[in-house]
């Protein structure tokens, strides 16, 4: 039986510190063997963008991230999971999103972080608006079919047994 585990979920305008968040997740633990950290950053698209503006649905964003995190914890028997998503205006080079997954061996941590990101992109209520280098708003980023495909592949993959790390 796995112990129930509460993921750390945050939606915030301020930046986050990768190392601090990893330290918080692993503090006092001697059973964790693998920590996978994914961070998503704002790109300038070859100098075309001055910022991305992230809008979110307060309340639902957190609830949906928590739901996804709980699915990942159960599916990959994770020992710890942190998901942080920023909102507001974010400049190129700055952090947008952070996912940390911890498990006894590496495969579950890699898969867990990957799974959370794939679902987060398609079902957590966030929207990106581009701001051009001139400062003008360029419009909303269109949703990509590739993101739906990335999410859907998880329903085709059969449960993988825990492997050595």
């Amino acid at each position: 039986m796995t112990m129930s585990l509460t993921p750390t979920i945050r939606v915030q305008s301020e930046d986050f510190d990768l190392q601090k968040e990893v330290d918080k997740l692993t503090a006092g633990r001697t059973d964790i063997g693998a920590v996978v950290t994914f961070s998503g950053l704002c790109r300038d698209e070859g100098g075309a963008l001055s910022a991305l503006e992230l809008e979110h649905y307060p309340g639902m964003a957190e609830a949906e991230m928590r739901r996804i995190a709980e699915l990942a914890i159960e599916r990959f028997s994770l020992q710890g999971l942190t998901a942080i998503h920023r909102y507001g205006k974010i400049a190129p080079g700055e952090n947008i999103v952070l996912v940390i997954a911890a498990s006894p061996h590496r495969q579950a941590a890699f898969d867990g972080a990957n799974f959370v990101m794939d679902f987060l992109k398609t079902s957590a209520p966030f929207w990106k608006k581009e701001h051009a280098a001139s400062g003008e708003a360029r419009g909303w980023v269109p949703a990509k079919d590739a993101d739906d495909s990335a999410r859907d592949r998880w329903s085709k993959i059969t449960e993988s047994p825990a492997r050595g790390g």
């Binding site: 639902m60 987060l120 966030f126 909303w140």
Partner: protein
């Protein structure tokens, strides 16, 4: 039925409001009925909701399909496909 509607991203911009409270007629049963009803409320609704198949809806902050009933909804979110992460 009185319900709070909340709008996001380009749906919010095209309607020029983040939220509103509406009293819905009893004929509005499903999410699809709601979208059809909203489109009768003015040109801005028609524009915002013209591509109905891409419009996403959440009932009480949970994703809902277009054929789902809206009974019991306190808050209904209407927005484009999500692009976070």
């Amino acid at each position: 039925m009185k319900v709070k509607l909340v709008y996001f991203a380009w749906v919010r911009e095209r309607l020029d409001k983040p939220e509103e409270e509406l009293d819905l007629p009893e004929t509005v049963v499903t999410v699809a009925d709601l979208l059809a009803h909203l489109k009768t409320l003015g040109e801005e609704y028609e524009t915002a909701l013209q591509h109905e198949n891409v419009i996403r809806v959440a009932i009480n902050q949970e994703h809902a399909e277009h054929d789902e009933p809206i009974a019991g909804a306190r808050e209904i979110g209407i927005f484009p496909p999500m692009t976070g992460g």
